[in-house]
């Protein structure tokens, strides 16, 4: 595609400026974030892929409508993650989504477990992965959310703060509590790693 080739070597923020002049550039932004956001929505919502795609459509349309509100002093990535999070929670509240067990990619779960529990994803552990996933999915959203953003999406405290609209100190506290909560839940289930 002609526009797609014009987007190469351009930052998200530069593409936002171009989109406001020519809407065709918006396709580049959507393509850049389609997979990332879909995975993020799936993980925080435990919803079906179909529902997650509906939410993502809503996210992209909302983001486009509010593009003039995007502040170029912030990163587009944090901004659209924030919209994705709010839209997902909103869909969840409206019960538009049907909770399901979401299968995570091994590398994502491994990242999370290594960072929160200091364990490696060995074949032995794979046996209880399904169970751990269930526990992660049962954590309160505020904990699950920060764990995913920090250890799966690889965001730093400031970025997470910008996505959750919370001060950095609060993000740090939430991450610590989330780790503690995860460990406690695993202990309750008698899972030793």
């Amino acid at each position: 595609m002609v526009i797609s080739s014009k987007c190469i070597n351009k930052t998200d923020e530069q593409i936002v400026v171009l989109t406001l002049k020519n809407q065709d550039y918006y396709l580049c932004l959507m393509k850049r974030y389609e997979d990332k956001l879909l995975n993020y929505i799936l993980k925080i919502s435990n919803t079906s892929r179909e529902d997650a795609e509906d939410i993502l459509q809503e996210v992209f349309i909302k983001a486009y409508q509010n593009l003039n509100d995007f502040d170029l002093n912030f990163t587009f990535s944090n901004w659209i993650y924030s919209i994705a999070r709010n839209t997902t929670i909103s869909a969840f509240r409206k019960k538009k989504v049907r909770p399901q067990t979401v299968s995570w990619e091994d590398k994502d779960l491994n990242n999370l477990l290594q960072s929160t529990l200091d364990i490696e994803n060995t074949s032995h552990q794979k046996l209880i992965y399904k169970h751990i996933l269930k526990i992660i999915n049962q954590l309160p959203l505020k904990y699950k959310d920060v764990l995913i953003l920090k250890f799966v999406e690889g965001k730093d405290y400031q970025e997470i703060g910008d996505i959750l609209h919370k001060p950095m100190g609060t993000v740090g506290t939430l991450i610590n509590r989330a780790k503690k909560s995860l460990k406690q839940e695993l202990k309750k289930e008698d899972i030793t790693l």
Binding site: L27, F60, Y64, G161
Partner: protein, 242 residues
């Protein structure tokens, strides 16, 4: 997986979806900052009233009434204005966190900064005489306002507890005694033979005063200490001290 981006892009084009205009967000942002600013200003009005009410009350008389200082404090605090001060600080906080970068600040920092600004502005307004004018307006125009705020009048109109206030209307009947019309328009004969006059006062008619003493009967009061109604020169004119 379906090509979601292309689908959404087609939807945007087909439905002629456009970004909301820039002015919409600028206006929204200005609106949030304006409400924040207005809340801070209203908070400062509330604080100036808190200061005014606290300053107009006499805090050294609780022992005349046999009360503890804590009890006097509990009775006398201007709760109405304190509620307004905290309410406006809350509104200021709510609006601040909805500004673009507001969420980056801690709750306690925003509340403290809002309170400090309101307190500083409120103190300025108090010394400027603004709270005194506002008190007069509220007393005159707002129904039940005087019942909601513990005022100087309320504090001093307790003859059964040895506190009385009013204006001297006649003097020297007999010597050193005088006739007083209290704040509720009742006539009192005041026995003032062994009285301490505070604030370099001398008994003259039309002088508004506060009396500490003892109730003798329905219209007789024995004064032991008399103070000017007005605390500090040129301040607290409420009630018409002349």
């Amino acid at each position: 997986m379906k090509n979601l981006s292309n689908e959404v892009f087609k939807k945007i084009k087909d439905n002629n979806i456009k970004p909301k205009p820039r002015w919409y967000f600028i206006t929204k942002n200005y609106f949030i900052w304006s409400i924040f600013g207005i809340s801070i200003i209203l908070g400062s009005f509330a604080f100036s009233m808190v200061l005014f009410i606290i300053k107009q009350l006499d805090w050294d008389i609780y022992h005349y009434m046999g009360d503890s200082f804590i009890k006097t404090l509990f009775i006398s605090l201007p709760y109405l204005w304190l509620i307004f001060l905290f309410l406006f600080t809350g509104v200021a906080y709510y609006n601040f966190i909805h500004t673009k970068r507001g969420y980056r600040f801690k709750l306690i920092s925003i509340l403290l900064i809002s309170l400090i600004i309101s307190i500083s502005l409120g103190t300025g307004l108090y010394f400027n005489g603004f709270s005194e004018r506002l008190e007069k307006i509220f007393s005159a125009k707002i129904p039940y306002y005087n019942q909601l705020v513990y005022s100087c009048e309320e504090q001093w109109m307790q003859p059964e507890r040895g506190l009385l206030a009013g204006t001297i209307i006649e003097i020297g009947f007999p010597e050193n005694n005088f006739i007083l019309r209290d704040l509720e328009n009742n006539r009192w004969e005041i026995e003032a033979s062994k009285v301490i006059w505070k604030g370099k006062l001398s008994p003259t008619t039309n002088l508004k005063i506060k009396l500490i003493g003892k109730l003798i009967n329905d219209n007789n009061f024995k004064a032991t200490e008399i103070r000017p109604w007005q605390k500090g020169q040129g301040r607290f004119m409420m009630g018409g001290n002349r």
